[in-house]
Structure formats: C-alpha cells, structure tokens
Amino acid sequence: MSLSSADDTSTVDAFSLLTSDERELLSGDISSGVNVVEAMRLVAEPTFIRRVTVLARSAPLHAMDIKESWQQFTEDRYDLRGLALAALDAVVMRQGLEDEATSQDVIDLLARLAYRAAPDLPSTDHEAVARFVLKELLNDRNAGAKFLVHYSDYREGHQRVPLSFHLLEEAPGRRGQVVLRASVQAINALIGGLDLEVEDAQLAMDAVLRAQISRGQWGRAEESATKSMLLSVALAEKVRVLLAETEHDVRTVDWAERVPALLEAARSHLEDRLGAEDGLLDHMREARDNAGDDEVRATCLRIMALLGRCNQRHGELHGTVLDALRTFLDAQIDQRFRPIAQLRLVDLSDEILAPIVRMTAADAGDIAALFAEAVAGPVVRRLPRLAELYQLLLAPAREPLGIIPEDDEPDITDAADDAQPFSEAERGAARAVLSTALGRPRRLSELLREAAAHGRTVADLVALSVVWAFAPEDGDDDDEIPMEFEDLFATRLLVLDDDTPLRHDGYSGADLLVVPVGSAGERGAV
C-alpha cells in the first residue's frame, strides 16, 4: 500500500479502497469528455439543421449592426435589432386586416422608439434610424430581392445550401395604397424560431396560454394571444390559396388524398380552436371580474379583444372550408367532364410549362424563347424607304456641332464664277485712275478724289486695291479685290507708307503713296 510513483499501481490501490456500493456506482462508462463521433451524429439530425436554418434567417437583423457604421446617424445609441423586431411586430399585428401597416406608420413608430432611446439627439437622427431599419428589412440594397444566406447541411458529407427569404415586402393594400406585409418566414422568426407546422404550434400555444393565465402571468399571456392570431393569419392564407387554385384548374391540386386530408384536419382543428377560444374567453372573463389590479384588468381586456378577433377569423375560415367540397365539385364539372380533345393538342401545363420550369436556366431560356417566338405570329419588319432615307441623311444636324455660326461657312463655289461686286464699268474706271500713278507718284487722297468723280463704288475699289497691295492678307479667302489689278501692282506700282494721315471723306488711316516701280529709287521727285 505505498503511495509511490508508478501510475498503474496508484490507480489500482484507490479502487481497492472503495466499498462495493461505490464500485457499483462507478461501474458505468467513465469516458472523459465529449465523444467526437457522437457530436458528428448530432449535427446530422434534422432538428439540428432546422435550428441552423432558423438562426440563418435572423442573419439580416444582425447584419444591420455591421452596416450601421455606414450611416449618418449617431452610432451606438440605438438597438437596431430591437427596432427591426418592433417593425416586424407592428406589421404582422395588422396584416390581413382592415388597415394594414404602411411604410409611414412603421417609420413613425420606429422614430418614436428612437426618440425614447436618445431624447437628446435631434429628430432628424431618429428619422434617419427609422428609415434605415425599414430599408434594411425591405432589402432595398438589392432592389427588394430576397435575402440570400447559406448554411451547411452535414447529413451526407457536406452540402452548402442556399436559403432565400423575404422579411418584409411591399404590396398593394385593400384601398389601393402600398402596405407592408411580412413573409411566412418572418412570422415564424417572430414566434421565436419554432418553424413547425402551423396547426401543432397553435395547440401548443393554447396550452401555454392557459397555463400562464392560471398562474397569473399576464404579460406573457398577451404575447401568446398575439402569437395565436399570427398563426391564424398563416392558416387562413394557406386554405384560401388552395381553394383559389382549385377554382382555376382542378388538376393542380391533389383532391384525391392530400387536400381532403388537409381540409379534414383543418376543419376539425378549427372546431377545436373555436371551442378552445370560447373556453379561454370565459376564463378571461372570469379572471377579469375577479382581478384586483387595474393593469391586470387592462391586459385581460386586451387579450379578450385579441381573442375575439381570432374567433371571428376562424369563423369565416370555417365557413369557407365547409364550402370547399362544393367548390371542388363545381370546378370538376366545369373543367374535367368535357368531350375528349383532338389528339394533336398538347397539354400546356403538364407537358410544356412543368418541364420548362424545372430545367436549368440555360435550357429553359432556349425553349421558352422558342415558344415565345413561335406564338408571336407574323412580324413584318419595317424596311426604310430609300427616298425618305435620302432626306433623312441630308437633314441638318440637330445638335450644334461647335461654336461656328452658319454665317462663317465659306462658299464652296469657284471664285471665277462668283458674281462680281463691281461692274465692268467701275473696274474700268478704277483701272484708269490707278493707271495715272504709272506716270508719277500719286497720293491715295488724290486718287480717291479722282475716283470719287466716277462714284463711290469706284473710290472704294481704288482704296481697297491700294490697301490690299500695300499689305495683302495672308489668308486664302478670296475677297472682293479682283485679280486683274495684279498686273498693275505686282510689277509696275509700289505702295509706300510715309506716315502721312489720310484726310478724305469716309476714309481714315495713312495716306499711302503709289509710286511707279521705275521711280522707286528716286525719292524726292514729285
């Protein structure tokens, strides 16, 4: 019996010290820690996967926090998740009833809640928060498309499964205004992630409600009553859609087994609920009469009002369900008992639509497009008429091409064909005047005086010719100077400027000197 070192011996020693009872207790499995294989099996169970999907569906609410930093309102003062849940609550409470919730209603509610959270901040901040939360719930970021999250399915190896869902959607309301509606997934998320079949959850809820009332937990009783009504809304929608489809095409709904079973279950369930809710109402009425607390009584009345509404809805639904069989028989006579169709006709729903919708997007695209193109009938292409085309091409451009006004466009005509601004007679007279300078140097003023005798135009022509000869323009544009005076000015006359100012009616500038070439060297001669 030594306490010495070797591990084996010490274990054996301790064991032998135990009594038989203790040994019995210890005879069970003493495996240490969690067995890894067990955990892998847990992960493959459907319940686990269901919980994962529920958690995944709350992803957008959490993502809101991360996106908060991009916003213009004060960080870290508001509980965005709580506000989102409040918005969902507000929408679902009024869904399907007379006055459904509009965006403005929800924004007002959220702004009020934000004010309570941060009364010191300006109201623009509260509104900004409210709008942000609503937009996130509607997924405005992706133009109202469904949220897409992925989760892992470990049942056979690993598969990454996409999950797409809406939280809130905009839809047309009863009176034409745009209202908000919560999707079924959002309703389930609100009910605390149960995600079970509608009917079962409702029974569970009733039991909860009763227990809570008997124990006097009023707050939670109200919550349960709310949940009951939400479930009624979902159930009503299910049955309504089914009956509407039956009226349209009987074959799309399985009336042989599935639907009768569903209707039977729904019918008996509804009868249960009507009974149960009556019982509950009586219960509540009793509690209300005996309650001492004012707040308790108020809650009681609220719950009773809620239950009353539920009751009403169930009553309507019950009536519809009872009519269902008649709806089916009418639809059947209308649709199925008809003369046999010709053999060449194709069944559109089963043989065309159903396969197309199940194909991959690429295949479906080709085939569906083929159908659309075939159904369109003859499409006559419009050919352009050549005469009109010609006119269209030559029409002036509608946009301005630049800053060039139209006046500056040069004429595209031959200079030789141009209509002369000066007539033959005028040109002749000007030539005569200018030729007088061939003999001796003449001043421009003298020439102009002589030319003026023949008329103003001749004088202009003389002046222009002399000026042009003195300093010809560099540009190529043909101005009014006729080329025929070239012979005079090119070789035989020279124009000089000796800074004498010109004094003549209508002209100003320098009084140029026109000298014959020969005498250019002899200055000073008059």
Partner: protein
C-alpha cells in the same frame, strides 16, 4: 395571261397580306370579309392562297370567321420573330423570363388540351399570372424538400424557377412607373406585346392590368406549342437521361 387568273392571284395575295396584319378584323373591313368567305368556300382559291403564303414562308393555320386569317410564320422565314430583336441588349436571364411568361400565360389561360379547342374568350390579369407562377414555384420548392421539411440532400440550385423566385413582384421607380427589377413589369410588357400582335386586348373595365386573350392567341398557341417546343423538350429529356448527372 388571262385577266381572270391574274385577278384571282391578286386577291389571294391580298388575303395573305391581311394575314400579316394581325390587328385587322374581317368585321371591320368588307374586302377582308369577302376574301375570307371565298377562302372558306372555294378550294381552288384556298389552294392558291396557301401556295402564295407558303412561298412567303408563312403557313396559314386557320380561317376564323371573327379573327380572320391566322398565319404562322416559319422560324427561318422572313416573318420570323426573334426575342433579341424585340428589345435591344436583352440579357439571357431576361430572355428566359420573357419566354417563361409567354408559356405561363398560355398555360394559365388554357390549362387542359380541350381548352385549346373551346371557343370562349379567356381573361387574365398581370397579378393573376404572377400568382400562378409563384404558386407553381412554391410547389417546386416543396418538391426539393424531403420528409422532414428541409432542403433535400442532392437538390439542384440552378433551375429556371429560382431566377423568377428571386425577383420581387412589384417595385416602383422614382416617378411611379414599374421598375425593370420586378416581375409585374415583364408580364405587362409581354401582354402589351401580345396586344400589338393582335393576340390580346386590354380589358381595363375589369381593373388595371386585365387583358382579354383572343382566338388568334389560342390558335397560335395550339400550332406553335405543338410540334417545335414539344420535340425540343423531348430532346432535352433524352439528353439528360443519356448523360448521367454529376451527383448521380
């Protein structure tokens, strides 16, 4: 040539022209009505008209007393229609959407083969068609779920219905028009196109977005849906059986 023969040829060609103008109706046009009667009574005239139409790559499907001549163009012919001509810059996903909506409208209006024969005018509305398709999608989603209500282990995720599912039903733009990112827009544009082709009429007395589908549409669907599409689908099925899928 004999003037009588020439006149007959001219009348036959006129009738073929009427076939290419699907919005005209014999009740409104006397000439049309006369030619239609001749077509239905004289076999020689009928053969002549059919021959001319055939030469123009058009097949005359029916001569309906109210609708007039219903012609079905050959896909490779001069009157054939391609969706990509309909709208510039059409993405493949949008093309699939347009095609799918055509099929859905036809399937919604004529669910059984005998509906394709019956002479009643059907009415559809934009929201009607949308709900129909989404109901079908819900059923398909349930198909991918197994017994415990979860998505099955080997489900495929690139099917056509998922594209439709991802798009919201209604979405408005800043100036209150329908945005292109919603299915109601595409359904409305298909129905408006059918109106231009004389296949439908607006029935706004029942509310906005309601349309009446005419006999012409029914006859075109019966002819069009029949062979080409049916065979194509059979081809795809055969192909998918011949090549086993990757998971299988």
């Amino acid at each position: 040539m004999n003037t009588e023969i020439l006149d007959e040829i001219r009348d036959a060609a006129t009738l073929v022209r009427y076939a290419c103008q699907p919005r005209l109706r014999p009740l409104a046009d006397k000439c049309y009505a006369e030619l239609l009667d001749r077509y239905r009574s004289s076999s020689q005239f009928r053969d002549l008209t059919d021959a001319i139409a055939d030469g123009l790559t058009l097949r005359i499907v029916a001569a309906h007393p109210e609708e007039g001549i219903v012609g079905h163009p050959r896909p490779d012919g001069i009157f054939g229609f391609r969706l990509i001509d309909y709208q510039k810059g059409l993405k493949p996903a949008d093309r699939m959407l347009l095609g799918l909506i055509h099929v859905a409208i036809a399937a919604r209006a004529y669910p059984t083969p005998s509906d394709l024969e019956e002479e009643t005018i059907r009415r559809v509305s934009v929201s009607d068609v949308d709900t129909f398709i989404r109901h079908l999608i819900d059923e398909l989603r349930e198909e991918t779920e197994d017994g415990s209500g979860l998505v099955a282990v080997n489900a495929e995720f690139d099917q056509a219905w998922r594209t439709y599912d991802a798009m919201p039903s209604q979405r408005t733009t800043a100036n209150r028009g329908l945005s292109q990112a919603c299915t109601h827009y595409w359904i409305t544009s298909v129905l408006d196109w059918l109106v231009t082709q004389g296949m439908a009429q607006k029935a706004t007395e029942f509310g906005p977005g309601h349309y009446r589908l005419l006999h012409r549409f029914r006859l075109q669907v019966a002819e069009a849906a029949g062979q080409a599409v049916y065979e194509k689908i059979a081809d795809v099925r055969r192909r998918s059986i011949a090549e086993p899928s990757e998971d299988g």
